[in-house]
Assembly symmetry: C2
Homo-oligomer: 222 residues x 2
């Protein structure tokens, strides 16, 4: 594992490519042609190197994607002015993260990553935890609350993005319709009742609603 920033100045063969260059190029490729265009070989070619040389600056492709997400977050996550009221602060902070992530759909493959994303996102985490504390939760419950919010947020993005990808697929969309058409009304009355409205209902963006409900619920358990 080469250190991201080696302590010594120059020792050994001098590098011809840098992690920054790799990330910048990867970003360009993704911006131009989507994450599907990003292969280690193509990236190496564009950087003017060989595939395996990349592996001295990046552990594997997954880490590259995480770095790409970090980079994206650092560049686009602007700190909004937050309301004074702690509950509102939580909602606004979480929504800001959600919006930023939802705007770049290729992250789904990385999103499954971890609880706290890049360093640039820490401020938002802080705001959420602090907001929960400000509403009267003890610190440990606030951390748990933040995690619940993160689960909800990550889940929403992952599920929604993947669903959108599938909806583009005729066969699978047809399969879903079939499931709803074949419902047994006596055993599944509510689903039958909602069957024809299901598609539009699930297409609605209800992230904020659910978030507020979750926050309310978390605060009510004080």
């Amino acid at each position: 594992m080469p250190q991201p920033s080696a302590p010594r100045k120059t020792l050994g063969r001098p590098p011809r490519i840098s992690r920054e260059e790799i990330i910048a190029t990867a970003r360009r490729i993704v911006d131009e042609g989507g994450v599907g265009r990003l292969t280690m070989r193509r990236l190496a070619a564009e950087v003017g190197s060989t595939p395996m040389a990349l592996y001295h600056h990046v552990r594997d492709k997954e880490e590259l994607l995480v770095l790409l997400l970090d980079d994206y977050a650092a560049r686009t996550l602007r700190r909004p002015r937050l309301p004074d009221h702690p509950r509102e602060r939580i909602v606004v902070a979480a929504t800001a993260i959600h919006e930023a992530l939802a705007a770049c759909p290729w992250i789904v493959e990385v999103l499954t990553a971890d609880d706290l994303l890049s360093t640039s996102a820490l401020w938002f985490v802080e705001q959420i935890v602090d907001g929960l504390v400000g509403c009267g939760l003890p610190l440990d419950r606030a951390v748990h609350g933040y995690r619940a919010i993160w689960y909800y947020t990550a889940g929403e993005i992952v599920v929604r993005t993947t669903a959108a990808r599938r909806r583009a697929d005729d066969d699978r969309a047809t399969y879903r319709e079939q499931v709803f058409a074949d419902l047994d009304p006596s055993e599944l009355p509510r689903l039958t009742q909602a069957a024809d409205r299901w598609a539009p209902l699930t297409a609605e963006d209800t992230y904020r609603d659910g978030l507020q409900a979750l926050v309310d619920g978390l605060l009510a358990r004080r």
Copy 2:
């Protein structure tokens, strides 16, 4: 796309393998050696066929995994006796799904799938939607509520499983510690305060707590 069950009885070359056989064998491989052992080549070999022959019974590996999950759900999802009170019913139904899914960690790759999983899970969806309606929500809000619960549930499993996978990795664990050690206490006071407790706190299983909070919040917005 070959139909899962062709209308005509016999026409063309008779199949030597069936989708069921494929799924059963895949299940065995996964049970024995984890999902990492499941490759199309190995599966073909164990079935006594060639890799490409599988593709006449299964669209691609992802579909195979979805089918595997369906199969798993159909075999292990037992319907628990649900409480009468609708709110409790929601919590118990969701927890049952969550437990079943959390018990088979390989699904993460599929979980990102869709809102409703296999047919066997529909009953649970019904219970949740019906519980929400029983608590006074109109049907469309109940569907939205169910989706929020599903986002939370899927997110919890995906994030937690991936986090566990990474925790096995020393480098990444160290990196995380580093992030917490380097916090600026003046800018991120809460995180600093929680820094040393973060690892144990996030290791706790708080699914149920968060779920109840979410349900409470959903019901409070009646």
